[in-house]
Amino acid sequence: MRKSHDLTAAQQFRPRVRQAALKRLWCAALCAAAALAPGQAAAVTLRITPQSNLAILDPIWTTATVTRTHGYMIYDTLFGTDAEGQVRPQMVDTWSVSADKRLWTFTLRPGLRFSDGTPVTSADVIASLERWGQRDNMGQELFKFVARLDAVDAHTFRIRLKEPYGLVLESLGKLGANVPFIMPKRVAETPADRQIDDFTGSGPYMFKQDEWKPGALVVYVKNPYYKPRDEPPSGTAGGKRVYVDRVEWHIIADPQTQVNALISGEIDVLEQPAHEYYAMLRRDPNIRVLDNKYGAMVILRFNQLQPPFNDVRLRRAALVALSQKPFLQAQYVSSDLYRTCRSVYPCGSAYASERGMNGLLGGDFKRARSMLEQARYDGTPVVILQPTDLATISRLPLVAAQQLRFAGFKVELQSMDWQTLVSRRANRGPVAQGGWNVFLTTFNGLDLDNPVVNPALNASCGQAWVGWPCDPELERLRAQFVRATDPVDKKRIAEQVQERALEIATHAPLGEYFQPVAVRKNVTGYLNAPVYLYWNLRKR
């Protein structure tokens, strides 16, 4: 049974070899679709099986992937990021920046309305941004620089900064979890630590709460008030045109049943088929596997508060012993679905490099063994948490256990369901009182592609992500990166951040894998992006 977790389809910027071929395929499909007589008679229903069960409906409150996809269905954003990674205006019509780069002014597109017919105003935008700012990490960074956020009139609002900030547009148009969706003021005023219970939005679809059966069925219908932009759709930018009347999310728990349902045509789109089935799906005549360029990264996280990994020398020894290929082979089956990547940033992203990687992740058990002796490792067991109910990551801990054992560590595997793991890893105490030493998880590439958004690189001790690395030097470099506006400076600082992170071994990057979406051939127009987007789809 899939749960929401850190994984989202990663963003990958370097065009793949097959990318060009796919482009030609799209425009052929689009032209054919246009030829069809508009306004078919029967209501067209699109059946999709999402990555996991939609439980929490507040995209600001949780970073769960399926909630974020739900957000893209019913809400709209000020800015979007297109397929090439460029930030483009979406709800915003025009915007301007003062000379001293401290005053940003934005005007909304005319005639924007919520699904209950009420017009979208600056007041709604301001309330939404303030709520988003409290929860999202990029939002928090942005609001540290915001002096004042106010409305000029119903369609124009301004952001006044204390000092210039390089990531204003990247923040407003970010793709990853806690997307700055715009909600009605009354909804956005819900305190950030309580979940909203009114699902009015200005996105391409409307959520049918009466037909919602949690754990089984989620229903959306076309939003009559939505006015798409004119540009062609690309990523979350461009016109979000809707060609179907109704979208149904069918929650299917069992991975094999998911694939069988797709093959038998009972569902049209399957977000994350289990890796074991891609070979079969590729061979199926009426199914298309949409290889995308957006991968996810596997991460092994050390708990730096508890022995043995409170000793940096032992963490370095682990980095030497681990090697990426066995993890990827065991978990992601066929080689066209994974690749090794010797960088803390996704390979192909702006700041990816091999800086500081020499001698690491080579599976050199002998050297690791000698490092253990030098560090006088006293045999304290390494407790690895293993989730049993998440098919996409449940095998990684076993591979880690074996490699660490080869390196001479004493290892103990503790299996539990994902929810227990999530709460267990928040425990800072010793292993005896429910603590831990190592866990493995995966992150969407776009959540790791710069020192600010990548949680693993945060070394602010208690405030850092679980594992709580503590290193003022790394924090100094990250603060420096935030203030840099020139891309060359950002690249240099980002590489220094990686080098420092590997020196204090905040975590072990274990390579990338892809989980392309599988779509039946009678459905066309799927937007290839690092997040799941369901507009622009046609079903014959």
């Binding site: 289990a274 290929k325 066995p326 082979q329 076993l398 369901d417």
Partner: protein, 309 residues
């Protein structure tokens, strides 16, 4: 009244009826069930010498090999050696043949331990409920409560409660089985209590505890053994279901249940993951059930009574 002519040849005991042992051996079902279980036990115990490798070590490079193929296997000190995978390999590249044999140990252990524990606690509770009337009400309500909660859900909740280890899974499967044994023992005790030989024991001054242990318990053994086999069979199945739901034993302890649960993803393309453990589990559970049926037909007095009266 004059004693009748000494026709009475009754001083010497009549011909002895066949002992339980011989009657059991004659029953086909008992022979078949017993034989299969014996073979499995031998295979499980002799696993290290039957050309197996460490069931937990793997090399992802040789994953999903079809039965009979040759591939590589890592040893603990990290070097690699060639190995023929008689039953193919699973998703990690582990040798299925070794895992099925070592898995037999754990599955049989789970089945047997659950059966013994359930019988022990169930018999204790059943005896108390059956013999001491004031205890009966309370105890049986608790048992009804336990029985009203579906066993799989109770097991899932119990395993989720403690961290998943061999003993937590065994406890989780045992707890829902206890009420069934208790109800059986209680009904037996209620029946036996009324037997004249129990009343005779009362009249010769035997203490209540002695009556329980000397007279009532020994006469419950036969039906209990039969129930024990059914509990053992269902325990092995429940373990497989728990693994399927993701709350079973951790995968580094191989059991037929978690092998199948884990292998279900590759099932349609590489069926060996589910086929071999499935056949062994079905065969074992089948043998235990047949053994149970055979025992019941020979030991259960009700069937014996139908002979010439």
């Amino acid at each position: 009244m004059s004693a009748a002519a000494g026709i009475d040849s009754e001083t010497a005991p009549a011909g002895a009826a066949p002992g339980i042992g011989r009657r059991l051996a004659r029953n086909g079902a008992v022979r078949f069930g017993g034989a299969v279980l014996l073979v499995l036990l031998v295979l499980a115990l002799a696993a290290p010498w039957l050309g197996t490798v460490d069931p937990t070590l793997f090399d992802p490079a040789s994953r999903d090999l079809l039965p009979g193929r040759v591939g590589e296997v890592m040893t603990l000190d990290g070097n690699v050696l060639q190995h023929t995978f008689w039953m193919g390999s699973d998703g990690y590249g582990r040798d299925l043949y070794s895992r099925v044999l070592y898995g037999a140990r754990v599955s049989l252990l789970v089945g047997a331990t659950v059966a013994l524990l359930a019988l022990a606690f169930g018999t204790l509770a059943g005896l108390l409920a059956g013999y001491f009337r004031w205890l009966d009400g309370v105890l049986m309500r608790v048992m009804d409560g336990l029985m009203a909660v579906p066993n799989i859900l109770l097991a899932v909740a119990l395993v989720a409660m403690w961290k998943a280890s061999l003993w937590t899974v065994i406890a989780a499967i045992t707890v829902p089985e206890i009420p069934r044994v208790t109800r059986l023992v209680r009904s037996l005790v209620l029946g036996i209590r009324e037997e004249p030989y129990v009343e005779a024991a009362v009249s010769v001054g035997t203490s209540r505890f002695a009556i329980l242990t000397r007279h009532i318990l020994p006469n419950c053994i036969a039906p209990l053994v039969v129930q024990g086999t059914y509990v053992c069979a269902s325990a092995m199945l429940v373990e497989a279901i728990l693994s399927f739901l993701g709350v079973g034993l951790p995968t580094d302890i191989p059991t037929w249940g978690n092998m199948m649960a884990e292998g279900r993803l590759e099932f349609t393309q590489y069926p060996q993951n589910v086929f071999f453990p499935g056949v062994f589990l079905a065969l074992t559970v089948f043998a235990v059930n047949i053994l149970g049926d055979g025992l019941r037909d020979t030991l259960d007095p009700r069937f014996g009574k139908r002979g010439e009266r």
